[in-house]
Each structure stands twice: as structure tokens, then as C-alpha cells.
């Protein structure tokens, strides 16, 4: 079984968000980057599938050299090799095009992405890759097993689950539930990571279809006022006078 897991390099969830260059560009200064969480879960499940059967796991990132630490973390978690497409990740179509270009002659059985990356939350790359490769796309994968050359997949749908089966190859975008928790790289994995191949390929040319005009930060969340449980009068007064909700 050959699995490709596409991972994006995103700011840590607790990172401070600010923008530079006229609010067009995210300020990466002093920010710690991580593997986007849904992709980390998808990778974890991919590793389990491989360990239960056999095969290889490749991770792929579209990004510059500063993405390599998170890629090596993926190798430390247990991926066999890594491919970095040497260009800044731009919009979803651009990224999907780069991924499809790498994947097109490699006969991956499953290509995993995350349901969305947690920085720009575009939720499109997986579907676009599938379209470009002309293979099925399965979104919101919250569970997956493999039997022979068939994926047995659980999808989360509104208010419940859907069970589906799909022959290899396909693209699955992972979400919560695909693995219970991300795998923590063990010492052995960390030490093996430096010996695993991290191949760099140059991007194909592709003109962006979208342009970022500006970013704005959400309004600061107002603080929470705590009221003692037996002080209902005060709650009513605050709702009435300050929140003007009643």
C-alpha cells in the first residue's frame, strides 16, 4: 500500500496573529509552526494502516525551507520519506496543482489531506487534487480501514455517520476521529528521522487564481463576568443593564 499524506505547515494554535505589508502578509516572526492538526491525525491513521498491513508512507508539503522542521517531525512520527515542493504555498488551486503534479505518476493508493488547514481554512485542496488526478474524493473522513484494495470509510454527516467503500486510489480528507490522538514521535523515530530522505522538487508554473487583498483581525473577545450561582438578581441586572439582552 502506498500512501501520500499532504501536510501543511501552520502556526501553532496559540500563536499571536498579526499581519505585515499592509495587512497582506501573515507575520511569521517568533511564531512556532506545527503540522496542521487534521493532517497530523490523518498521518497517524495512515501509519497505523501501514503497520497493520505493509507499505510506504510519503509526506508532502508545498512550502519553503522553513517548512522542513515540521516535515522532519512527520518523518519522526514514522513516515518513510518526504517531498517538499519548493515554493510558497499560495491559494488552494495552486497547492492542489503542485500536489497533483507530484502524485500523477506515482500510483498512490490513498492520498490524505486534512479537512482543512487550520491557518486559512480553505477546505478545498483534497477535492481539487482528486479532480486533477481524476480519482474519487472523499471528504470529512472520520474513520478508515482498509481491506485488500478497498477503503472502508466512515464520514461524518449532519447528525450522524455515513459508511462508504471506495476502491483504491482515492483522496481522503481527514478530520477529527480519523485517529483518536496524534502520534507523539518517540525517541527512536526522532533519531531515525535525520536519516530518512527529504526530497526537494521544483514547482510547476501556475498562475494564482486568487489574490489576497487584506486581512482583518476579529474584535477582541470581551471578558467573561462570573456571577455566584445564588445571585440571580445580579445576573438579571447585568443582562438587562449592561448586555441589554433582556
Amino acid at each position: 500500500m502506498k500512501i501520500l499524506v499532504c501536510i501543511s505547515n501552520v502556526p501553532d494554535t496559540t500563536a499571536k496573529i498579526s499581519f505585515v505589508e499592509d495587512n497582506k502578509v501573515y507575520n511569521k516572526n517568533n511564531v512556532q509552526f506545527i503540522i496542521s492538526p487534521y493532517e497530523e491525525l490523518a498521518l497517524t491513521r495512515a501509519l497505523e494502516l501501514k503497520e497493520a498491513a505493509s507499505g510506504t508512507i510519503t509526506v508532502l508539503t508545498v512550502g519553503l525551507q522553513d517548512a522542513e522542521p515540521t516535515m522532519r517531525k512527520a518523518l519522526a512520527m514514522g513516515a518513510d520519506d518526504a517531498i517538499r515542493v519548493n515554493t510558497e504555498a499560495k491559494d488552494a488551486m495552486f497547492v492542489a496543482k503542485q500536489i497533483a503534479e507530484v502524485a500523477k505518476n506515482k500510483n498512490y493508493d490513498i492520498i490524505f489531506t486534512g479537512k482543512e488547514s487550520i491557518d486559512y481554512n480553505g477546505s478545498q485542496v483534497g477535492e481539487m487534487v482528486a479532480e486533477l488526478l481524476d480519482i474519487p474524493s472523499i471528504t470529512s473522513v472520520s474513520g478508515i480501514d482498509v481491506e485488500g484494495t478497498t477503503g472502508k470509510i466512515q464520514r461524518e454527516i449532519d447528525g450522524g455517520y455515513e459508511q462508504i467503500e471506495c476502491e483504491f486510489p482515492f483522496v481522503g480528507s481527514g478530520q477529527k476521529g480519523i485517529a483518536p490522538e496524534p502520534r507523539i514521535p518517540a525517541m527512536r523515530g526522532i533519531m531515525m528521522a535525520r536519516k530518512k530522505p527529504l526530497n526537494i522538487v521544483e514547482p510547476v508554473e501556475f498562475t494564482d487564481l486568487t489574490q489576497v487583498i487584506t486581512h482583518t483581525l476579529p474584535e477582541a473577545k470581551s471578558a467573561c463576568t462570573m456571577i455566584e450561582p445564588d445571585n440571580v438578581g445580579e445576573l438579571v441586572r447585568l443582562l438587562h443593564e449592561e448586555a441589554k439582552a433582556i
Binding site: N30, R72, A193, T225
Partner: protein, 594 residues
């Protein structure tokens, strides 16, 4: 050019160090950071959600967590690869210990397992002993403990009365005795037990398995803090210890005990850095949430002062502990090169820097006590509530000043080892001290007014060293052999040395960081340095004056007072504004971000 590389412990008292020659934590590489992150991820997944269950000593839980840490390889980080470990450097091991430091009782269990539990066998065991025990300790299959303390032998560890007598057939030692305060005692499979053979004056060490006949345990101690860590009395009643389980040579036990403790001390010194950082995070999270008088309490100057001071002590402590760790790493590499095969290079390396190990333990444990104390204060009434994290941190911190040698014992060691190393001729403390003594009747200004920012700091530090040398030399001149009876003065000198070492390490780190990252990126670090040097100057002055007033008289006292005051004079600092800036960055990011 003047040689500025530190090559032995205590030498910092007389030598100027260049910023480029120290290691700073910003230089950790990607792999080391990944190991740190794995430790943190492990805590987030296994420890932090279970703190109450751990503190309730849910049966089997701590033992299970040790195994889980073992599965990730965290118990074998410093164990050589031949013994199924990962052969990482001392620095990397220290970084991992910092991460684990944020795990309360688990940190204590972890330190006992990987430190005092594993290291005696790893560093003093013969090949069979190592092969038999170490790989399984590194995976967590075997849990380990270290049994030195007895009801009547704590600080005076060599006075223990546990006894081992060779059996008639010469195959066993028959071990009898009682050990107390044994961390991991409730579940440890393998114990390093210190006892005297026959009527020896000095301890020997034995490897004892807890399922051997005659080993029994008291119930868990009821403790103020680290409630989740197992602490037991262990009794040895005619336990038959095979002769091949003698660890090291007969009579070598006390040396083993002490040498293992050097490593334990510096590791404790880094552990508390991890504990401090998480306590600061809790403090600032709360200060940013809690409103009084219509404002977040983090907007009040009094609270900012506390947050800044917590951060200053933590950052300073961290600077010092990694500086010394690199010195030890270098000494280990050097010792490996020149190894005669008799002593372990790791032991040689850390023993060489025993002054630093002791002072980092003292400074770090007291810094953490400040941090957790003020954390409880920031939480106000909630700081007193067992529902909030400030309470656990506060109670768990206290042990650090007591074990691995009490801070009093460690303060004595600081002065004693610095002097003894010099007396052995390893560095010229007294030559340098005499030079300074010659200077004090004719003092020249510390600064000439043309110094750059870092030159000024370095000159202050050089002057603090002179204050210390003057105190040490005059103390030895007056007290001579009576010195060891004058513990109060030893404590004073020790405090001067501690403050100096940390201040110098901080100054060198900020300077090196400045070279790496440029002025703008490090402005807060300069604030930290400004405040710290300003504070340390007055501490060193006070401790110096306390000391000399306790032994000197007349003209001599006048000259010494003048000298101490001269060498500890520093420029004024707007500490209020500096602390506000430090606090503000932490408040803004809502976490320790230095």
C-alpha cells in the same frame, strides 16, 4: 590573547568569559527541540489531564506512566545505545528534563527513575550489572529507586547504620537496615542501597531487587506536596544480596552517592525552570482573565511587578543552567578522550563542576519558590483553592529546597568546593584574590565612562567578582581553620557566588543573543539584564557586608567595607518601567514567551 575558556568548576570566580564561549538555549538544534516537544506532548497527553488521579495515588497509575514514558524512549535519553538507550548528550538530557519539570509529581518520579535510580548502575556498574538492569530501566520495564537516607542519617548520609555482612559461604552479603524517604519506593523493582560492610567507616553500594526475601515497605508517607510521587520507608531484614551485586568497590558507596548527587542537582536546576514556566503561564492566564475594579488585574502595576520578577528569575536561571550544562558536556567529551577506563567520563565531567551544580540547585529551587508563591498571590483567594493550579505548584515546589542535599548543605558545598578546587591547584583563586587585596587600599573607578552597554555590564560583573574575592580572602585570613564553624559567613559568601554566577550567565546570554538576533529583537532581554544586575549588586553588597562585619574589625573592617561598597556600585535603573515592559510582553501573549 587572554584565554577566556572556562575549563574547571569555580573558575568563573577569577576568569572573564566571552559571550561567544557560552552555550545559550537559543542554540538548541532542531532534533533537540523535537525531543523537548515530545516530552511536552507526552505531558499534555498523559500527565496534565490526570493530575488529580496522580496526586490521589491511584493504584498502578504512576507505574504505568513510567512505562508509557519508557515506550516513547524518554527514560533512555542519556543511556548509551549499546544499552538500548539513545546516547544523547548531557545538554539534550537537560533540555528533556526541563520539559518534564512541568509535570509536578511525575517529574519527581521521572527524575528518580532516570537519575538517581539508573545512574549509579550505569556509571559504576560492571558489564554484567549494566547488561542485566540498564536496558530494562531505559524502557521502563524495571522501575528504580535510590536508597541512601535513613531515619538518623539525612544530610549526614555517611552516618547510616545499614549493614552488610558476608555470608559464611562467601556468596552473599546479608543486608540489614532501614531506609527512609525513598522516592518510587512503592513500585521500584531495583534499588541501589547504601550500607556499610562489617565495621567499615564508609558506605558501600548494592543493587537489591525488591522481590527478594526480607525487603518490606511501610505505607506511603503523607506529604505536603508531590503527593502523587511514591515515598516510602524500606526495610531490609536479612536480605541475601549476591556478592556480584556489590556496586563499585567496597567502600566506594559514599563517593558514588555524592557523585550521583552532583548530576541530580544540576538536573533539579533545570527541572525547576520547566516548573517555573508553567507556573508563569498559569499566573498570566489568570491575571488576564480576572477583573477587579473594572479592569483585568494584569493591568495593575503590582501584578506586573510579580509577573516580571517571575520571568526575570526564570530566564536568569535558565541562562545559568544551560551554560554550566555545556561546560559539563565539554568536560565529559574531554574526559572520554583521556579516559583511563577507571572513572566514568560522565561522573568526571559533572564532579568537575560541582560548585556550579550546587549553586544551580539552590538558585533554581529558590527562584521556583518565588514564582509559585507569587503565582498563588496573583490568584488571590483562588490561589488558596485546591481547584486551581497555583495550589499544586506551590505545594510541590517546596521539596526542591530539601532533597538532593538541602539548600544549606548545598550552600556549604558551593564555598567548600570552590575553595578546595583552588587548593588542589585547578585554578588560581588565591593568586587572583591577593591581587585584588593589593588593590583595595587604592581603588580605581570601575567604569571609565566610555563603555558600550555590554562592556559596562561585564565590568560590573568583574567588580562583583572582586567583592567576592576580597570577602573570601579576608575571611580565610581572619578565620583560618575556624571557617567551618562559621556557617553564617559561609552562607553569605555562598549567596554572593550564586548571584554572581547567575548574573554573569545572564549577561553573556543576552550579549550572545544580541549578536545573533540584533538589537531590536532582544530589547526585553536587556530589560531583564538591567534589572537583574541592579538587584544582584545590592544583594552581593549586603551579603558581603554581612560577612565582613561578622569577622573583621577596626581599620581592616573599614577598608573591606569601602572595597565591597566600591565593587558593588552600579548605575541606576528605572526598574519600574523595565519590569512593566517585561510583564507587558508576557501579558500580551498570555504566556511565558522569552
Amino acid at each position: 590573547m587572554e584565554d577566556t575558556k572556562i575549563t574547571t568548576g569555580g573558575e568563573f570566580l577569577i576568569k572573564k568569559t566571552e559571550a561567544k564561549d557560552i552555550f545559550i538555549p537559543e542554540e538548541f538544534d532542531e532534533e533537540q527541540r523535537m525531543i523537548y516537544q515530545t516530552c511536552k506532548d507526552f505531558l499534555d497527553k498523559e500527565i496534565h489531564p490526570n493530575l488529580d488521579r496522580i496526586d490521589d495515588q491511584e493504584p498502578g497509575l504512576m507505574r504505568d506512566l513510567i512505562s508509557k514514558a519508557g515506550e516513547l524512549g524518554l527514560l533512555g535519553i542519556s543511556v548509551p545505545e549499546e544499552l538500548d538507550g539513545f546516547g544523547q548528550s548531557f545538554l539534550t538530557t537537560m533540555l528533556a528534563n526541563e520539559a518534564i519539570g512541568a509535570s509536578y509529581s511525575f517529574a519527581v518520579a521521572f527524575m528518580a527513575q532516570t537519575g538517581i535510580g539508573t545512574l549509579p548502575i550505569l556509571y559504576y556498574g560492571n558489564e554484567e550489572q549494566k547488561q542485566k538492569y540498564i536496558p530494562k530501566m531505559a524502557t521502563g520495564e524495571l522501575a528504580a529507586a535510590y536508597c541512601l537516607t535513613e531515619p538518623n542519617a539525612g544530610s549526614d548520609a555517611n552516618s547510616g547504620t545499614s549493614k552488610a555482612v558476608l555470608s559464611e559461604d562467601g556468596k552473599h552479603y546479608i543486608l540489614n537496615g532501614q531506609k527512609m524517604w525513598i522516592t518510587n519506593g512503592g513500585f521500584a523493582d531495583v534499588l541501589t542501597v547504601f550500607a556499610k560492610i562489617d565495621n567499615d567507616r564508609i558506605l558501600s553500594a548494592f543493587i537489591v531487587e525488591n522481590n527478594w526475601e526480607g525487603v518490606s515497605l511501610n505505607p506511603e508517607e503523607k506529604k505536603m506536596g508531590i503527593k502523587g510521587s511514591s515515598t516510602r520507608q524500606i526495610f531490609f531484614n536479612n536480605v541475601k544480596v549476591p556478592v556480584e551485586n556489590l556496586l563499585g568497590a567496597r567502600g566506594e558507596g559514599f563517593r558514588i552517592a555524592l557523585n550521583i548527587l552532583h548530576i541530580g542537582r544540576i538536573k533539579l536546576g533545570v527541572n525547576v525552570v520547566g516548573a517555573s514556566k508553567i507556573a508563569i503561564n498559569h499566573s498570566v492566564n489568570y491575571a488576564n482573565e480576572r477583573k477587579q475594579f473594572g479592569k483585568q488585574i494584569s493591568s495593575f502595576g503590582a501584578i506586573k511587578h510579580k509577573i516580571a520578577q517571575q520571568a526575570i528569575l526564570t530566564y536568569a536561571s535558565e541562562s545559568a543552567v544551560y551554560r554550566a550544562s555545556k561546560n559539563i558536556d565539554d568536560a565529559i567529551i574531554e574526559a572520554k578522550k583521556n579516559s583511563d577506563g577507571k572513572t566514568n567520563a560522565n561522573i568526571e565531567g559533572s564532579a568537575k563542576y560541582q560548585t556550579e551544580c550546587a549553586l544551580l540547585k539552590v538558585f533554581g529551587s529558590e527562584a521556583l519558590d518565588y514564582v509559585v508563591d507569587e503565582s498563588a498571590q496573583i490568584f488571590g483567594g483562588m490561589g488558596f483553592s485546591a481547584e486551581m493550579p497555583a495550589d499544586r505548584a506551590y505545594r510541590d515546589s517546596r521539596i526542591n529546597r530539601i532533597f538532593e542535599g538541602t539548600n544549606e548543605i548545598n550552600r556549604l558545598i558551593i564555598v567548600d568546593s570552590a575553595i578546595k578546587t583552588a587548593q588542589k591547584g585547578e585554578y588560581d583563586l588565591f593568586g587572583k584574590a591577593k591581587e585584588v587585596m593589593a588593590e583595595i587600599n587604592n581603588l580605581s573607578p570601575v567604569l571609565n565612562g566610555n563603555e558600550s552597554y555590554y562592556e559596562e555590564k561585564q565590568k560590573y560583573i568583574a567588580a562583583f567578582k572582586k567583592a567576592i574575592l576580597v570577602t573570601i580572602q579576608s575571611m580565610m585570613d581572619v578565620l583560618k581553620r575556624k571557617l567551618s564553624f562559621e556557617q553564617e559567613i559561609m552562607m553569605n559568601v555562598s549567596d554572593m557566588i550564586i548571584q554572581l554566577y547567575v548574573a554573569e550567565s545572564l549577561a553573556l546570554r543576552v550579549e550572545k543573543l544580541n549578536d545573533m538576533k540584533g538589537d531590536e529583537a532582544i530589547s526585553i532581554k536587556k530589560d531583564i539584564l538591567d534589572v537583574f544586575i541592579y538587584d544582584v549588586a545590592s544583594e552581593i553588597r549586603k551579603f558581603g557586608l554581612d560577612a565582613i562585619n561578622s569577622f573583621a574589625e577596626g581599620e581592616n573592617l573599614k577598608t573591606l567595607t569601602n572595597a565591597i561598597e566600591h565593587f558593588t556600585k552600579v548605575g541606576g535603573v528605572n526598574t519600574k518601567d523595565a519590569r512593566r515592559r517585561i510583564a507587558d510582553t508576557i501579558i500580551e501573549e498570555n504566556k511565558y514567551n522569552l
